[in-house]
Subunit: 494 residues, 2 copies
């Protein structure tokens, strides 16, 4: 057996442990009764220890060295590169720092759940300070190992190849036109007459509607399921993708759009190259690309007028409300394209969303690089919210800088993925439009060519090439924020 | 840390892996879509390898030796004894035999699924021959290690302390009165006028009824769930017990009685001593004791006239059939105490069930001891079925010696547990009756004293003492088949 083969075997073993982790984690969120939590958490912590030991086994250094001297095909070289990237990410941070970080962030996150409700910034910031210190230490170590800046070294965990330099340029561009765009759209939408749908929309019918839409969107039910959890997510494994939602009997659109979003994530996972199953090169390319698929399904496809022309009658029929004026395609389009600046990122529409992300990016970048401190966050938050969205958040920590789980969890460098995903999705759609008439395909209920395009250009590539190569090959150029802007202008101002 | 403590820590770690196995196994049976099976089986096989390596780690031999020389409390001694028992069972059989056995039985079991339907004894017996040979080799190795006979060495895996000698005596006793008892009951029941309930009984209502009964039977929903699977079972872990059932819209009693049965298993698991969580001494004592709890709930409790007086109106109300003459307590009692010899063990009533078990026990005992061969099974089966139940099974392998999964799976020594369970249950009930008026308690809907008795005498003992000590302490004597006979006579002939 060659060293490359030994490494491949080793990583397939690791991926089997990931499989167990994914299923038990899904179960914990979607199935487990509360009383099972302590023992489950302990069992999963044990699994994490075993996985970590395997992922950082001392013999791997030599294996990588030897494998790199073997004669490999181009594909095997890509596979080796991804295995090594994963291994380096695992090994570079000392075990005691990993443990300290996990302890500090679980303490911070746990306390945050009640502190947020109590608007308790002083209490929260004390814990967050500790989390930030450890994240800085981690960033420093990763920076030294990779030659990247500290923030870039964290960003690289989620969006390999992306940099502060590129993000600064992209986001400066967005900031130059977004506030004006938002006010133009707000102006244009002033006189829209929206009819709010009035519940109840029974959970069982919402579930039927969700399953019907998933089916139309090509979700493979032989390799996945839909269930319920407090916080919707896409989990499981490529051969068995578990997506979740949360139903609100007063508002069916939030669950529906959530399901469509997770279906985008799911199809990416279900479409990953089987040939590379269990190997890092066969995994999703990045968090941004992952989000591009969910946002392609949710924003590019499903909030389009053409697609709402399918969704609205299906919903009306499922709820037995074919006469309800709130469920006409016209009214559903108004609802699903409504733009309104708000405090909460997860409730934001696609136009104002980037403002939420840029604000967080700018703060966490400076925090990790050591240019600002935790104590500076509220003032910066208020200033940027006012500047980007015209909202006053002073003194409101609950709906301000304490609203997200990312920082208490110690996940710095993740936020940009959301807006990168939106931009990738717009760029993919623009390229696709050069090859086919999307609106016609939707009207003909023939989505297959769209899925085939994504499968060929995104899903089946796994991590065989870099993100910019995916973009380049699929769209003819690297990331260009112009496509996102054009999408927004076209949808909201035409 | 003492060596006893090191061993305890080691076994708690093993139990965390068992936790993952239990949840992923439950998921595979109750949740997983078909297409997820290959990757799941591979992931679980990997987990089994890791567990096996840990359970048979070379350093354990010395740890046990050193721990046995430490000063331990009586409880710790029991705990050490059970850890050692488990360790010896794991280590005594060489890894290559384990693998060969697992391969042969999975081949045999897989083929059996279609061979059974095709009544293909020649095809099946060829595979079974291989499984039996390997089981004999395993039995030989275990016999040498334990000083037991070959069959007893396998029996010991499921029912520690039980022996062929004791079983032969018990079953000879049963055989001396069972056929006559069956014919007396059949005679007595000849003129019973049973009204068969006519479906449909909607699945959703059956589920509501199941949950209501589980609640009455004290199932702790904070530490468990009810779901659906093709073959009902009780799985999960003590802090999160997963029971399953299967609904038939034409017949609600089978799912209902199945749920009650699994609830008995579940309450045993939920009631195990928390103090010993994760250690072998904190686990269920034996398969027979486990079955005694499910049969206590199903047979002793729920098929009693008093309990059916609760069940029947609850069912009638749940199905909106308070006027249905099939759902009166009287008719439901007739249905749930109907005795009729049949071919299929899993469909048998509690009176004829022991005949099915004794027949299998006698055959597998002689098979493992080498007194008969696979080719002899059909003739022996036919002879015993005719002798014990007066049924002709000649040429009908499907409903004869090919009906159970146990032999194709290589599980020899398991069958006696079913009837031991029925006997333990009857003996527990007889002892309980000396302390309280069961019928009155049921009529008063006050089951707590019954559960408290089981909790104190069975559940909370875990594996701290032997099965005969459990019996002795709870009932004043060791296993005595007389209680089972008296139960049957009292229920069916009085
Ligand atoms: Zn997403
Ligand atoms: Zn059972």
């Amino acid at each position: 057996m060659t060293f490359y083969q030994k490494l491949a075997q080793h990583h397939k073993k690791l991926s089997k442990l990931d499989h167990l982790e994914a299923i038990c984690g899904w179960d914990q969120a979607a199935m487990m009764p509360e009383g099972g939590n302590t023992a489950r958490s302990e069992a999963m912590a044990e699994l994490a220890v075993i996985s970590h030991e395997l992922a950082t086994a001392p013999y791997l250094a030599e294996w990588f060295e030897r494998a790199e001297r073997e004669t490999l095909t181009a594909e095997e070289k890509a596979s080796l590169r991804e295995m090594k990237r994963q291994w380096q990410q695992h090994t570079v941070v000392p075990a005691d720092l990993v443990e300290e970080k996990s302890l500090a962030s679980s303490t911070c996150e746990h306390a945050w759940r009640s502190q947020r409700a109590q608007n308790d910034w002083p209490g929260f910031s004390e814990n967050l300070q500790k989390v930030v210190e450890l994240a800085r230490r981690e960033a420093q170590i990763r920076a030294e190992a990779t030659g990247l800046s500290r923030y870039d070294a964290l960003l690289d965990l989620y969006e390999p190849g992306m940099s502060t330099k590129e993000l600064d340029a992209l986001f400066a561009d967005v900031k130059s036109w977004l506030p004006e765009l938002i006010s133009q759209i707000r102006e244009k939408q002033t006189h829209d007459q929206i009819i709010q749908p009035v519940g109840p929309f029974p959970v069982e019918q919402q579930k039927q509607l969700s399953l019907a839409i998933m089916d139309k969107l090509g979700f493979d039910f032989n390799h996945g399921r839909l269930d319920v959890s407090a916080h919707p997510f896409c989990g499981g494994v490529p051969t068995d993708v578990r997506i979740t939602t949360r139903y609100d009997e007063n508002d069916f659109t939030s669950a529906l759009m959530g399901v469509i979003h997770e279906t985008g994530h799911a199809r990416y996972e279900q479409g990953l190259p089987v040939k590379w199953a269990g190997l890092p090169v066969g995994k999703a390319r990045s968090m941004g690309i992952h989000e591009s698929q969910s946002l392609f399904f949710e924003m590019q496809l499903s909030r389009s007028e053409a697609f709402i022309g399918i969704l609205a009658p299906l919903a009306a029929e499922t709820f037995g409300r074919t006469d309800d004026p709130a469920l006409t395609p016209e009214n559903m389009t108004l609802i699903n394209t409504r733009v309104k600046p708000g405090y909460i990122r997860v409730d934001a529409d696609e136009v104002t969303y980037p403002a939420h992300v840029i604000l967080r990016y700018e703060i966490e970048r400076d925090l990790i690089e050591g240019n600002i401190e935790v104590a500076d966050i509220p003032e910066l938050w208020d200033k940027k919210m006012s500047e980007y969205l015209g909202l006053n958040t002073k003194g409101n920590f609950t709906d301000g800088c304490m609203q997200d789980i990312h920082w208490p969890m110690g996940s710095f460098g993740y936020f940009p993925s959301y807006t990168l995903g939106a931009m990738y999705a717009a760029q993919f759609m623009a390229a696709m439009r050069r090859e086919m008439n999307i609106e016609n395909l939707i009207r003909e209920r023939n989505l297959q060519p769209i899925f085939n395009w994504l499968d060929r250009h995104v899903w089946k590539r796994g991590s065989t090439v870099s993100t910019s190569k995916v973009l380049q090959d699929a769209t003819g150029e690297t990331l260009n924020a112009q496509f996102f802007k054009e999408h927004l202008v076209h949808r909201y101002l035409k």
